[in-house]
Subunit: 738 residues, 2 copies
Amino acid sequence: MGVLSEGLTQVLIPVAALIGLGFALLQWYLVSKVRVSGHSGGHKSYKDSLIEGDFEEGVDSLEVSAKCAEIQNAISVGATSFLFTEYRYLGIFTGVFGVIIFLFLGSVKGFSTKSEPCTYNTGNICKPALANALFSTIAFLLGALTSVLSGFLGMKIATYANARTTLQARYGVGKAFITAFRSGAVMGFLLAANGLLVLWVTINLFKLYYGDDWEGLYESITGYGLGGSSMALFGRVGGGIYTKAADVIADNVGDNVGDIAGMGSDLFGSYAESSCAALFVASISSFGVSHDYTAMSYPLIISSMGIVVCLLTTLFATDIFEVKNVSEIEPSLKRQLLISTVLMTAGIATVNFFALPSEFTLFNFGTDKVVKNWHLFFCVAIGLWAGLAIGYTTEYYTSNAYSPVRDVADSCRTGAATNVIFGLALGYKSVIIPIFSIAIAIYVSFSLAAMYGVSVAALGMLSTIATGLAIDAYGPISDNAGGIAEMAGMSHEIRERTDALDAAGNTTAAIGKGFAIGSAALVSLALFGAFVSRAGIKTVDVLTPKVFIGLIVGAMLPYWFSAMTMKSVGSAALKMVEEVRRQFNTIPGLMEGTAKPDYATCVKISTDASLREMIPPGALVMLTPLIAGTFFGVETLAGVLAGSLVSGVQVAISASNTGGAWDNAKKYIEAGVNEHAKALGPKGSDAHKAAVIGDTIGDPLKDTSGPSLNILIKLMAVESLVFAPFFATHGGIIFKWL
Amino acid sequence: MGVLSEGLTQVLIPVAALIGLGFALLQWYLVSKVRVSGHSGGHKSYKDSLIEGDFEEGVDSLEVSAKCAEIQNAISVGATSFLFTEYRYLGIFTGVFGVIIFLFLGSVKGFSTKSEPCTYNTGNICKPALANALFSTIAFLLGALTSVLSGFLGMKIATYANARTTLQARYGVGKAFITAFRSGAVMGFLLAANGLLVLWVTINLFKLYYGDDWEGLYESITGYGLGGSSMALFGRVGGGIYTKAADVIADNVGDNVGDIAGMGSDLFGSYAESSCAALFVASISSFGVSHDYTAMSYPLIISSMGIVVCLLTTLFATDIFEVKNVSEIEPSLKRQLLISTVLMTAGIATVNFFALPSEFTLFNFGTDKVVKNWHLFFCVAIGLWAGLAIGYTTEYYTSNAYSPVRDVADSCRTGAATNVIFGLALGYKSVIIPIFSIAIAIYVSFSLAAMYGVSVAALGMLSTIATGLAIDAYGPISDNAGGIAEMAGMSHEIRERTDALDAAGNTTAAIGKGFAIGSAALVSLALFGAFVSRAGIKTVDVLTPKVFIGLIVGAMLPYWFSAMTMKSVGSAALKMVEEVRRQFNTIPGLMEGTAKPDYATCVKISTDASLREMIPPGALVMLTPLIAGTFFGVETLAGVLAGSLVSGVQVAISASNTGGAWDNAKKYIEAGVNEHAKALGPKGSDAHKAAVIGDTIGDPLKDTSGPSLNILIKLMAVESLVFAPFFATHGGIIFKWL
């Protein structure tokens, strides 16, 4: 047993969650001090500003502020309206899928993870299937609800912060940065704390029924991860299509529903799944068997520690180091990653010392494995540091401060074609280091502590999720701030500041996607291991036809999925362009600026397209495990999971980074920071036109298909895990016929 | 035993090869009857043509013919010069790698495939390693030589046929088609027959030493496949970079060194590897053990039958159905695929009946498996029909006669960005059916006859290689013919004909790539199985860290490789553009057309770039198995092979089809065959400009990185197989330290 007692553990976890919530509220309060209407600035009066002389000349402050408030309100209304429409669809889906879970799992007559599927005739100790079906369904619904809530709250915060960031940009880049960053932190902490709290409450409520049957308890809990990720999938895809199909006003709305709400659901899903995977593997491998509550709760304690560490980290950006000029933005964000990683390493060591026994035994596919306390430290730490390596690599390949993006910008000299070729090549190349990092993390954690090691490595990578989300959410907030500045007719100088914030935001968005993908790879592997364990398979041998066909078809799925999502974006954009052309032709005075365009129709086109088009890719992901498991059995399904994992990671990383690089190559030419950039620009030059084409191509890659792919791989894995008893009992119909 | 006696088998195989050679020479003779200088047409006098009225007006025939001869000669000289430069590099590589093979394999003290690596101390029957090292090296050198020869002869034929096709286009599209197609057939038959003959001679010569040790014999023979594929890799990559970097004259040269010589080496490599894999698996599984020579030679008999079947198939295109107008070109080529597949199905049944015993036993990873004669029929046939399915799917996605390419063309209305998005989505989508076809072929053949089944399925897909190559080589020949027509200043009408031939050629080139990739997947799996068998591994379990890290890193390799090759093409093209600009600036009168450009420097830039840039991707492919096997051992290497296989197939298919689709979308707009196409065109319209950008991006995808990837996966597999004894004895150094 570790030093930490059960009672103390039961107190520490909710306390950490509440601290996180409190910190989020504090940050929100600080952001709210910036007023968006009536008065120009929160902590500085209009007169003070004029005296200091850094105030924008010639634009009436009150009018600008009112204009910003109006735009912000329009964005918020638009985003809320879209999300509510989306949630109606998701509500139907959740209800139907909840019934499917209940019926499928309820149809299993009783199941033992130990060996063969059991029947009432054998002597195996079998769990009552109905309870598992019921509690899995409840956990699924809770996960779905929390995921939707995470996304929705994130959107609310972002649309609350964007105009405030714009207004603060008038006082300098540092003020704007801090507003955007604090708002990102609100979202990060709210989400991390909320996820932890709901999970903790759910576990404690389920325990009332399950009592000492920890394996049964944590089996049902896996439904929580499934709920979280399935909402994330639709959020990412629907929001992603919406964003890219949208016109100017709706583009800002789109950022909030796709990059904020979708991403929030996504990372919440990763977090929920990695926790569930770690808890389930722990319950069947060691601590569950020996009933060591504190050690069993190790994944939750790690997450609790993560909240505290991220809280300290945030202070470095908001209070210790100050961003004074444009060139300090990106280093400041990058520093956040490094600080949180270093602090968390110490945090993990502390948790390990207090929460874990010095040595324990894991059951690894039938063999016993003795694991030392410090082995597990290495597992979590290597996941954490692999995340940092992925983050830094992503930054290198997507920031226009380094040669890769500058080379892409340079290739615009010879036109859009070379730009696209160089951009694609950059994305492919950017896969190398992340994959080696993931491979090393997997090898070390797998070797030291089998599948439990992999699951805590994933948790390690996500332990600093609050910081990761903060810098990730910062991006679309800054992007919105720039959009508002433009629409409010603010000066060139202000827009230069918001552009600089936004360029850094593109990079951090790419970093966030890198984390999401890297952790998804580890989580999926852990879930995959748990699935194999629960389905009662001994080996997943590539050299059997059932597994191999699964592997090659699984590796194909990311392509099928990407084809669907990219085509959807393209078609929706095409429809939008036609609608705009139609309006110019039919609305008199529109061309001259005397008449107003029909925004409502445009928004409707985006909304309809995204909601209709998210169904086929969603169905592909949700149905594949059900079809593969039911008709082809658990071996083929295991192959599908492994194949989609190893292939999807590559497609996802390359798509995200290619898109990010194109966006920043364009920004590099526009900003003209050095002689080279100036020679390529200015806006409207041939090179710039080529860069714009690249940027447009990159949008669906980085905002729709790329980031949805990590959900694809982990969602299929967690779904397989939840349905494992069903597949093990009833699966493989086709091969039974043949 | 089957009906066919050993003596008769020994006669039939070389006779079939000689028939193939004879048929190739006959077709060459028929092509040669078209005269390129002095006289306008072979079988029709200038006067006759004028009387018939289908002759081009206003252009003097003799002058045109002389001009064509001049251009053809320039292309031939350029291609020969480049290939000889390339071969100097390849000669050095082959020498060095031959020494590596000899030393590595020679360092193994003796090796038994049956169980653990043996030493002189154990009682295992071990083969003398030095003989294996020596004969493997010789087989490697022979394979390399035959591969280079195949490519070189193909280039010679193509550069002999291109101007003849142009000149025949004056008499109508049917005449031009038949000239291009016959020339393709020369290459197809020459290559198939040559490959079979050299292999047969090598086996018979090696038998003088090996005698009854068939396992040892066919182990050494695997070097033949390695030699063939390694040359193919450099040919594809070097030629591909050259093509895309090149200016107008050199573009035609590039087609011949990349699409002809490279592709010839590539398909020869596939053919050699699938034969070697089948022969080796047979030697260790059944026929080798029971010493049934005829059954053992089954793979060679299938190939012999393939030559006869393709001969009959060719007659349908050249003598039975006549191509009268443009719209019949593609159906005619497509019909070739169907006819050869149907005839070959009967051919396989015949071979099975005569050459195989009614039942035999395979040794499959330690278990016995009874296989019936007709089981093996299904294995070969399913490979063959899967090839047809892949071919037809590719045609559907890359021909501008169907909606996918037309949708891509349509998306050009809104600019280059939507064109690229739709094109990429098309490529991704085109992966679905081929992967399911491959998966079904693998499942059926694997289930019926284990790895031997997979290897003969690959052979089945390649059994109609002569026809496949004929329609594939037809493409670049037509492309060249179009280029020559343009340079010789021939009329718009003639160029419309060659353009139509070329558009069909793009589709058939994509089909050829589809075959190459599909067969590479099957071949690689068979080689992979043989490797695992030879390395003495029992299972390749995904759920072990060593295998999993191999899997995920292996899946990354196609991206790394593509990043290298695409960047190379981009850089080389960039240099070329700069050189052209420099010439315009520094050579007086060039802009006005009074001075000649400095072609030599341009060609030198292309040549240098392609030779220098082919080294890193080549090294990546050649070194990966050596590094993975030596340092990480056979399990990790097995993972790498499986990962690169399942991931590489997807990247390769999508890249090839995306490129083909863009090219034909452009051609669709240019040709203006219907109202829709006319609305998008003509040349120079905004939509056409967008289409040109797509086409340019597609070039490196379809001609460099895409088609090289299938070589990557099979080359790594065959290299692993050849070095298996070394890895099994000395491999896994890192894990021994840890």
